[in-house]
Structures are given as structure tokens and as C-alpha cells.
Symmetry: C2
Subunit: 306 residues, 2 copies
């Protein structure tokens, strides 16, 4: 899928190679090229340090190379070329082309988005871009990742099911990482975590823990049960409150769509449903707020129990 990178210097912002990197804003181009784009020093550092096997090439300005000397060292250690380019070339590599991209990324609804910047907006790559090899979307890989988890001991899995906004997907991955989740699985109806918007919002989280796409929600619930991991969901109608209920040591939080929440079928199939207490007049929480409360309560219990 991914060709050997061309080593010659890039001199024109209109060159074929620049256009191919810019095209990675769209999902179909990512699939066709088998590559994805990573922007900014923090995310590129995370890619090179945590998932060097995915890295294909790094483009950076002289200024960014001076400000972040570790980037060239990490690229060398990962065995990938780090090329100095002009700021205008870097900017041409992230030029997003507006509405078409939002569709390509799975649609960015106006309600409940926690995305980082609007499609079509000029996003600064802060002097550095990397291109990585796109991991295949494969339901078997999701199951295999579950099977690779330890047989006993505490575990936290996060499942994103029908989370449509790439910014939300990225932010949820960042929060899952911060709360010490062991694995993030996305069903095939969720937005692509390898869209530039999701990668930006994850602030490196995408490379800090295993994130697998293309899972099937039905077989996923079975696979979780087979690994003795309790699937848990939030619902405003649940009898048990999060802060009172016993949380299992091995838990998978299933998070649903921004607007509609989790579908009835998945909710009914989850062995544990909890209600997050709401104290004011708010009728609901957005998916990221709910996930944050559940994941940090899980972390708090784990630390209290350790």
C-alpha cells in the first residue's frame, strides 16, 4: 500500500507530493494511499516515540527542528527521513478544502461536537508534519487486541460506538489515555481516528495506547464477555448511580452517538448500566463529559483499591 518515500527535496507547494499529503484530510485518500497525517510537535513526538513502526516520513521547518531537537533524533531512531521544508510547503500540506472533508471524516454535526477547529479552517501544523502508515480497519484485529489483554487483573476498555464527530473521537481517545485505559475500540460506524482532526484532538493519545477500528458491536460484546470484561453503559434511566455502584475490576465503557446516545439494542445487551448523578437543571451530559466522569471514577476506584 505505502510506497517508499521519495528522498529528493520538496521545493514547490504545488508539487504532487505536497498534494498527496494534503489529500490525507479525506478518508478515501487515506484508504487509497494507506497513509495518514500527523501535525504538530507533540503528536509527531508521540508517533515517533510510541509507534515508530507506523512512521514513514517527517517534514519540518528549520525553526521547528531548532525548537524541538528531539524530533530529528527520534526520526533517525525510527529509521525515517526527517526533511527540512519551507513554512509555505508545510502549510500547503495541511490545506483543508472545506465541507467535502467533513463528509469524508464522517460528518461533523453542529450539536455536541467537541472538535478542535473547523474543517476548512487554516490550521497551523506548528512547523512539523509526519506521515504514517494507516493501520487496516479490521474486525479481527479488534478481537485479537482483546485477546492480547492479560487474563486477569484490572482492565479498562473504551468502546466508541457511532461517535460521528472526528473531534469527539480524538478528544475521547485523549481522555481514555489520561485515565489509564488499556485499549480503545471503535465500531465501524464511528468517525475515523486517523482523520487529521481526530489526530489533532487526541494530542498524541492515538499513539499511546492500542486504538483499533472496524469492530462489530454484536461480536464485540461477546468477545468482551469471553475475556471476563463487563460492558458498562450510562443511561439516565438506570437504577444504579455511578458513585454508589460496585464497578467491576475489568470494565469496558461503551460510549454512544453524540445526539442519540447508545442504541436500544446495545444498551439492553450491556450487563451494567449506571446513571451519572445530575445535580442542577441539566437534562443530560455530552458524550465526552459522561466518558470523563466514568473513566476518572474508574481510575479513582482503582487507585483507592491498589
Amino acid at each position: 500500500m505505502t510506497e517508499r518515500p521519495d528522498q529528493s527535496p520538496i521545493t514547490s507547494p504545488r508539487s504532487e507530493r505536497v498534494r498527496k499529503v494534503a489529500a490525507l484530510t479525506g478518508r478515501s485518500a487515506r484508504r487509497k494511499q494507506g497513509r495518514f497525517r500527523v501535525e504538530g510537535p507533540q503528536a509527531v513526538r508521540s508517533l515517533l516515540a510510541h509507534r515508530p513502526e507506523l512512521a514513514l516520513e517527517v517534514h519540518l521547518t528549520e525553526r521547528a527542528a531548532d525548537a524541538h531537537p528531539e524530533l530529528e533524533r527520534l526520526a533517525r531512531e525510527a529509521g525515517v527521513p526527517a526533511r527540512l521544508v519551507d513554512e509555505q510547503i508545510l502549510r500547503a500540506m495541511v490545506r483543508e478544502s472545506g465541507p467535502a472533508d467533513a463528509t469524508a471524516d464522517g460528518g461533523s454535526g453542529p450539536a455536541g461536537s467537541v472538535g478542535t477547529g473547523s474543517p476548512g479552517a487554516l490550521v497551523s501544523p506548528q512547523g512539523v508534519i509526519a506521515v504514517g502508515a494507516l493501520p487496516p480497519e479490521d474486525p479481527d484485529a479488534a478481537t485479537a487486541a482483546l485477546e492480547a489483554l492479560p487474563d486477569d487483573g484490572p482492565l479498562t476498555v473504551v468502546v466508541l460506538h457511532e461517535v460521528r464527530d472526528p473531534g469527539n473521537v480524538g478528544t475521547l481517545i485523549r481522555t481514555a489515555d489520561a485515565a489509564g485505559a488499556d485499549l480503545v475500540l471503535l465500531t465501524r460506524t464511528s468517525a475515523d481516528p486517523y482523520s487529521p482532526k481526530a489526530v489533532r484532538a487526541s494530542v498524541g493519545g492515538l499513539f499511546h495506547l492500542p486504538v483499533l477500528t472496524g469492530a462489530e458491536s454484536g461480536s464485540l460484546l461477546e468477545a468482551l464477555a469471553a475475556r471476563d470484561i463487563t460492558a458498562a453503559a450510562t443511561s439516565g434511566y438506570a437504577d444504579s448511580e455511578l458513585f454508589d455502584v460496585d464497578l467491576p475490576d475489568r470494565i469496558a465503557w461503551i460510549l454512544g452517538n453524540e445526539a442519540h446516545g447508545l442504541d436500544e439494542e446495545t444498551l439492553a445487551a450491556a450487563p451494567l448500566t449506571v446513571r451519572i448523578p445530575l445535580a442542577g437543571h441539566a437534562e443530560s451530559l455530552n458524550v465526552h463529559t459522561a466518558a470523563t466522569v466514568c473513566l476518572f471514577e474508574t481510575l479513582r476506584r482503582r487507585r483507592a483499591g491498589a
Copy 2:
């Protein structure tokens, strides 16, 4: 500041009255007109039910009036006109004009935004819009709101200091509401909670609890201390961890800028600083995630202690 609403039917999307409602996207127009715009059935319902004294007029489609019969009833009870308009008139009332609005709203940075939709995007008002009287931005009002709080018993105050993105401001107000905060104060360098983007993101939260703008951070810390409310901030360098530390019954969580966090001076002046434990490889949390963890831990303790 606010004139008596014209009672005649609106027939053209290009009429002066439609343009004046559309202009409320910009901060200067809101100040000049002394009015702000509320979109969607849920937010309009919250305005009419919780802050009827602010409501000036309601515009809705026949379809929305049928789907949400309580809106006309609430408008009647609030003593404000509810006028049936065509869908195209309603859409013209929310037409946002792009980059200029982002600036008017205090700038929508690409990093760390948890906003709801991009400026310039077509946002559907879901059949209903209200116009409200803009409360004045007044540092004395912020102090007066603190003085109006009970003299003893538990309290949670949320202070937004230099939170620049209107979507973040709205989402933080929504979460403060859900976690049972008693009061939200914004310093004058924060984004305007009455921008349509912030109002949308707050999902009615803006009308569920007192939200005051224009506070001065220095005198605010003194006013909090005078009311026996402990100002608390998060810092990655704090010695105490949130989950281990004793939280005072009367607490004000001070939340800072999306990119830079809280300024050194404010951080140093806060009597309590805590660290949110991070379990993975994440280096930080965004301001909304950090706020959610702190506010719901405060709520959890309060309920456990009650």
C-alpha cells in the same frame, strides 16, 4: 437599551428585523442592541422557564409550535410574543457570516476547542429562536452575586478566567450546571457566554444558574475569601492529588486558558492547588476535561457526606 418588539408579522428574510437578529452573532451588535439570541427548543424552553424576565420575543415555525406546544404556553406566561414564521426566515435569523464572528466572539482557536459547530457553518435553529435582554457586564454584579450566596453550608462556584473559545465557555457552563454548581463567574478576558455559539453549547445551562460576566480576577479572589469560599486550581506540579486531598465544603474552581492554563499570578494566589492524576502517557487534560473531573469529584464528595 431594548426597544418594544414590533408586533407585525415578518414576511421577508431580508427585512431589517431579521437582519438585526442575525447580527446578534457578533459581540458588538449584542452590546449595541442590548440583546442576545437563543436557538433551539431546549435552550428556548430553559430561557422561558428559568429566566422569563430576560425573554423579549420568540420566533418559531408552525412545525416547531406543534412539536413543542409548551413553548407558546411558556412565552404567554412570560408575557412575550411568540410569532409563527417561515423556516427560511428563521434560517436567515441565524445566518452567520464567517471569520468576523469568531473574532467578535473572542476568537475560536484551533487547539483545545470543545465548541459546537464552526463559525460560518449553517446551524439549524430547529424551528425556534428567542431574543433575550443582554445582562450588563459588571464587576459589581459578580461581587453582588457572591454576596447573595448563603453564609454557610456547602457551595460550589466556578470561575472561568481567560477561557477564550465561546464553545468551551458554553460547555463549561453546561457541565457546571450538571454538577450542581451554585454560581459561574467569568473574568472580562473570557469569551462572551451570550454569543450564540456559547448559548448553543450550554444547552440551557446559561439560564439554570447565575452566570455573571466582567469579574476582575484580583478582587474576585478577595471576595471569595471574604465569603469563606476556598479558591482551588489544578496544576500538574501540585503536591496534593485531587482524589486524596480534603476538599473544602465551600469551594471555587478557577479554570484557565485553553492553551496556557492559569496564569502564574492567579495560580499562586489560589489557596488550594491540586493535581489530577494522569495514568497513561497523556501530558495534560483540556480545560473542560479537567473541570469535569474536579466538579464531579466535588459532587461525589458532597453526596457521600450528605
